[in-house]
Amino acid sequence: MSTGEHGKLNRRALLLGAVFLAGGAAALTRFARQSSASADSGPVFSPDQFALLEQVADTMIPASDTPGALDAGVPEFLREMLANWGSRESHAQVLAVLDGIEKQAWSRFGAAFLALPGERRLEVMRNVDADALARQDPGYGKFKWLLLVGYYQSEVGATQELRYELVPGAWRACLPLAEVGRASAV
């Protein structure tokens, strides 16, 4: 291997080390928030829709002993994916899912999703989730998949919630799960 690649790896390791020394996940989160704050929510989501998306993502994957969807920048990720990846159909599907969640909030509790306390948001989302998956609704499937990709393939999700090594360096074919710990992110 050329020294250039070693250099690249080392720079990445140093950068990660610096971030963790400066306050670990909190520093990463601040960085993510700052970098997204300057971008406008663009044509993909209106400010209201984006605010709803943030709370839906937080309900789907909340912070616990590990960071959650907001810490991992999942709403910003969805915005970027719809801008850079999604077809017109995918845009419509994601907006329809958000719309459906808002409608469910009004019909069940007579209030906007954002106005509901946490446990009621969870109840609304549980209903939407069970119903849509029972119907095998492709739009909801795509929406939930995007949230999960956004979280579990982010640095926070892959390395703190799950396990990820850029260079495993070895194959251990059969060992106790307890020795590995958590599921592999890839």
Binding site: P62, L122, M125, Y152, A173
Partner: protein, 562 residues
């Protein structure tokens, strides 16, 4: 003469031919139709999941517009997209009701960057098959002819595998094997108890598990178990033209490479019965020019080589160069895929693995080996692997919030997949021809591909599907599902057979050394030379045939015979 030798194409076959010719002291020119690629520097293999564009997803509109066929390849993603042509820029035609997937990339190294790296020898069950059952013409060689060349290419390429002592899957020169995981071991044990003629082994693959000094001298290092191989490997840990054969050829000082040069035709000198020049179009400027050499190797991939020969018509060869037999373009084969089965296993929940192994398991052909075994000829092999699902299962499962997080922290149930690879018979009407009405942007006729699966393939598939499901059930699997439906031909990316080797110039294009029967200084060593498809992944055989043909050509040049 500009060069001693010209090699058209820089993929697995072209790289091998160039290396062998250069090492024999011949000034060699590689003509590659695609762009230059810098080994290591042009790969995205050090990007983490969160650094890869759109987390690996190619934009939906772009995928549909530009990569409708290429994106069906499992290795296509946003970090490997550069290794596939845009279908929108490189069209070909098929009959409306008979699709064929022509999956390919135009760049230095060709598909040696994206290949599946599975490396298996063919045996005399394969080389003798046509003669035995009467489909196609007899191979002009047997295993003994190729065995020393398999040895040679395996040592240089670096092949990891386990010695099994099977007559239908000859052993080779192996680097240490990678281990089977817990569930694969259990599946192996049960299957081999139930079926003494079946064997489950680790997939033989062109990965350096323990590099030799020869590998290290070329700048190659050991496999790091990352499984981002389709992006290109900065460690040079798997075999590709860029990691192995081209660097070796360059070391001799005899290699010249021209990229962005599309071969338009070969000129034929009838008085000398030789190719006299290779005419190219500059892909960027449209400029026409030509190169001359004492010997010419076509290694432009099966369909690419066939296209060049069909375009090289002359007064003496009105149906395409070296095509007195009318075999050129016919007998197109692939391996049939979209078969086999998968299932989940309820056990081993406290077991897991570490690292990302770049190969799976292999279950060599067992039907029609020791005895006739069913209402079909030939056979199939299975590849497969076992894993525990991760977060991605969450999208399809009910649940969210803290419960979802907690559930997805643990790996899911074990799963095992068996993918069948069935042999395809050589049939004359499975054919590559030129579409005389439509031209590409360089004014060359489009390729027309007309290829279907036949009754024997359907019977093989039915048997493979039944056997796969039965083996999974016997080993305690649940939720067993078929992998079907059968994919269109071409999907396996093992297309071959359209300029076949044979004993008789009246029925084949190439002789036993991959030399055109009718044109002494013309050799073809890509998949188009294949007389039958066998069940093994063919790349290792292309390597061995290429090395053997190159050394034969060098002998003939030395003796003055060509």
């Amino acid at each position: 003469m500009d060069f001693d030798a010209i090699v058209v194409g820089s993929g697995i076959s072209g790289g091998w031919v160039a290396k062998e010719l250069c090492e024999r002291g011949l000034k060699t020119l590689i003509i590659e139709r695609g762009r230059h690629v810098e080994h290591k520097a042009d790969y995205q293999d050090f990007a983490t999941p969160w650094e890869v564009p759109n987390r690996g997803c190619v934009p939906e509109d772009e995928r549909a517009r530009d990569y409708a066929i290429q994106s069906t390849c499992h290795a296509f993603n946003s970090a490997s997209k550069q290794w596939w042509v845009r279908d929108s820029e490189h069209p070909y035609s098929t009959p409306a009701d008979r699709p064929f997937s022509w999956i390919r990339g135009y760049h230095l190294g060709g598909r040696s960057i994206t290949w599946g790296r599975q490396t298996y020898r063919m045996s005399d069950h394969d080389f003798g098959a046509n003669q035995r059952d009467g489909h196609g013409v007899d191979w002009p060689i047997r295993y003994a002819d190729l065995s020393p060349w398999y040895d040679r290419v395996e040592r240089f390429a670096g092949v990891s595998g386990s010695t099994e002592g099977l007559e239908q899957l000859p052993d080779g020169q192996f680097l240490p094997p990678l281990d089977l995981n817990c569930l694969e071991r259990a599946f192996k044990q049960q299957t081999e108890i139930d079926h003494p003629t079946r064997r489950v082994t680790i997939g033989r693959c062109a990965h350096l598990t323990e590099p030799t000094p020869e590998h290290i001298a070329l700048g190659r290092g050991p496999c790091q178990l990352r499984s981002v191989c389709e992006r290109g490997c900065g460690y040079g840990a798997y075999f590709s033209s860029l990691s192995a054969t081209l660097p070796a050829a360059k070391k001799t000082g005899n290699l010249t490479i021209v990229t962005d040069a599309i071969v338009e035709r070969l000129d034929y000198d009838h008085a000398k019965r030789r190719v006299s020049a290779v005419r190219v179009i500059d892909a960027k400027t449209g400029e026409h020019r030509s190169y001359q050499a004492r010997v010419v190797f076509l290694c432009a991939s099966t369909i690419g080589t066939t296209q060049i020969l069909l375009q090289s018509r002359s007064e003496y060869f009105p149906n395409g160069l070296a095509n007195r037999s009318d075999a050129l373009g016919r007998h197109l084969m692939d391996h049939v895929v979209g078969i086999g089965a998968r299932g989940t296993h309820p056990g081993f929940l406290d077991r897991y693995y570490y690292g990302r192994r770049p190969t799976g398991i292999y279950l060599p052909r067992y039907v029609n080996v020791a005895q006739q075994d069913g209402d079909f000829v030939r056979g199939f092999a299975f590849q497969g692997y076992s894993w525990r699902s991760s977060w991605w299962r969450g999208a399809g499962e009910v649940g969210l919030g803290l419960e979802l997080k907690q559930r997805l922290r643990n790996p899911g149930k074990w799963e095992l997949l068996l993918v069948g690879f069935a042999e395809m018979l050589p049939r004359a009407d499975n054919r590559v021809s030129l579409d005389e009405k439509r031209k590409d942007r360089w004014g060359l006729p489009l390729v027309h591909i007309d290829c279907t699966h036949g009754e024997n393939e359907r019977r093989l598939v039915e048997r493979a599907n039944r056997d796969a499901a039965a083996m999974l059930a016997a080993a305690g699997f649940e939720n067993i599902e078929s992998n079907g439906p059968m994919k269109p031909p071409g999907h396996c990316v093992h297309e071959m057979g359209t300029a076949r080797m044979g004993r008789d110039p009246a029925t084949s294009v190439l002789n036993r050394y991959n030399q055109a029967h009718d044109v002494g200084n013309l050799f073809v060593t890509d998949g188009s030379c294949m007389t039958s498809s066998g069940t093994a992944n063919p790349s290792l055989t292309y390597m061995a045939l290429s090395a053997r043909a190159a050394n034969h050509a060098a002998d003939l040049l030395e003796s003055g015979e060509i």
